[in-house]
């Protein structure tokens, strides 16, 4: 989307969201797409703190799917195996209701928990391979700022001119520009 030629990455660390907000607003006005902007923060930001599109998450959907999957698996385990391997029970029913219920309940919860965590890791690019592909998980020289409680702005794919302008606008408000 940007002009041909080398693309540049500008990084800047800020103490306060307000400082970064001004830079982000200026960048968006100058025609830089929101998808080029990445913000790293030491704690979650509120939705309206930056004029960037809100990230989407399907964790809940996957959690529910995991619950269904886990429940079915557990039900199959408890009821199915009892049917597949009938043992002499002396007249008692082969598949008993309450035990199958208990196992299904626990399986449902386990499925839900596992799928939730997997989906969180997937969406965050924390699963192997994911982060590298999307470029998100890559380290930055300025990451220590995030560790120390500052915010980090990274804007990718800039032309040389755009990068220069962004650096200039950040110079006053940022702690460090890279």
């Amino acid at each position: 989307m940007t002009a041909a030629g080398e693309r540049h990455l500008v990084e800047a660390a800020y103490e306060r969201v307000e400082d970064m907000r001004a830079v982000v607003e200026a960048a968006l006005e100058s025609g830089i797409a929101a998808s080029q902007i990445e913000v790293r923060s030491p704690a979650p930001l509120e939705e309206d703190e930056l004029p960037l599109p809100k990230p989407k998450s399907r964790v809940l959907l996957f959690a529910l799917a995991g619950a269904v999957l886990g429940g079915l698996t557990a039900f199959g385990l408890a009821a199915g195996t009892a049917l597949a391997y009938p043992l002499p029970t002396g007249g008692m029913s082969i598949v008993a209701g309450p035990p199958v219920g208990v196992v299904t309940y626990e399986g449902t919860a386990l499925g839900l928990i596992l799928m939730t965590v997997l989906r969180v890791l997937w969406e965050g690019g924390l699963l192997p391979g994911r982060g590298i592909r999307s470029g998100r998980g890559r380290a930055s020289d300025l990451d220590h700022h995030v560790a120390n409680g500052r915010l980090l702005l990274r804007v990718h794919g800039l032309s040389e001119e755009q990068a220069g302008r962004l650096r200039d606008s950040s110079r006053t408000s940022a702690v460090e520009v890279g």
Binding site: L87, P88, G90, M92
Partner: protein, 233 residues
Amino acid sequence: MTRWGMAIDLDRCTGCEACVVACAAENNIQTVGEEQAREGRAMHWLRIERYYEGEFPNVRTRFMPVLCQQCGAAPCEPVCPVYATYRNPEGLNAMVYSRCIGTRFCANNCPYTVRVFNWFDAEFPAPLDSQLNPDVSVRPGGVMEKCTFCVQRIQAGKDEAAQEERDVADGDIRTACQQSCPTKAITFGDLEDPDSEVSKWAESPRAFSLLGDLDTRPGVVYLSGSEWREPAE
């Protein structure tokens, strides 16, 4: 179908404990020694409970042989996590030693406290090993056990009848305790067969079940002519 059952006539029981000895010999039950017995680890599949009535000198002792009641609705069965104890098609409350992992849950849930546990590996130093019954496994430590109604004799009786191409007749199979009882207070057989001796005993007006109100449907029936139907409170 068969349902193995036992009837014990308490009015005939003299408390001689011959059945206890016969049971231990037949079933390779380990002898734990004084020290362990003092800790409450004596192993008997069958015990004679004694209860005393009245004030001295007018005391009367009552005896009650208590063994696994082979319950029709056994509390021990559903709690075993590995199916080491279950109800077999012939009404026995089966105990599979090789399956047992030793949670002792079954023993806790037995209202008759008739299950015994192998706290250590059984030791039969020579020449005691020569008197072991080859038809019964020696149980390792960590395994629950209890009266089996001499299942090895039941299996042998059925095998013998099959070899002779006939049905098992009443009286073919005798348990060790029954065999050794000098007063013939114990009888054993098929409760489903109305003509068997045990069925007839069970129909006696003197018959009752131990802790019958728990509805465990025991396969052991006690007979007593006196008003005393339950062990002393």
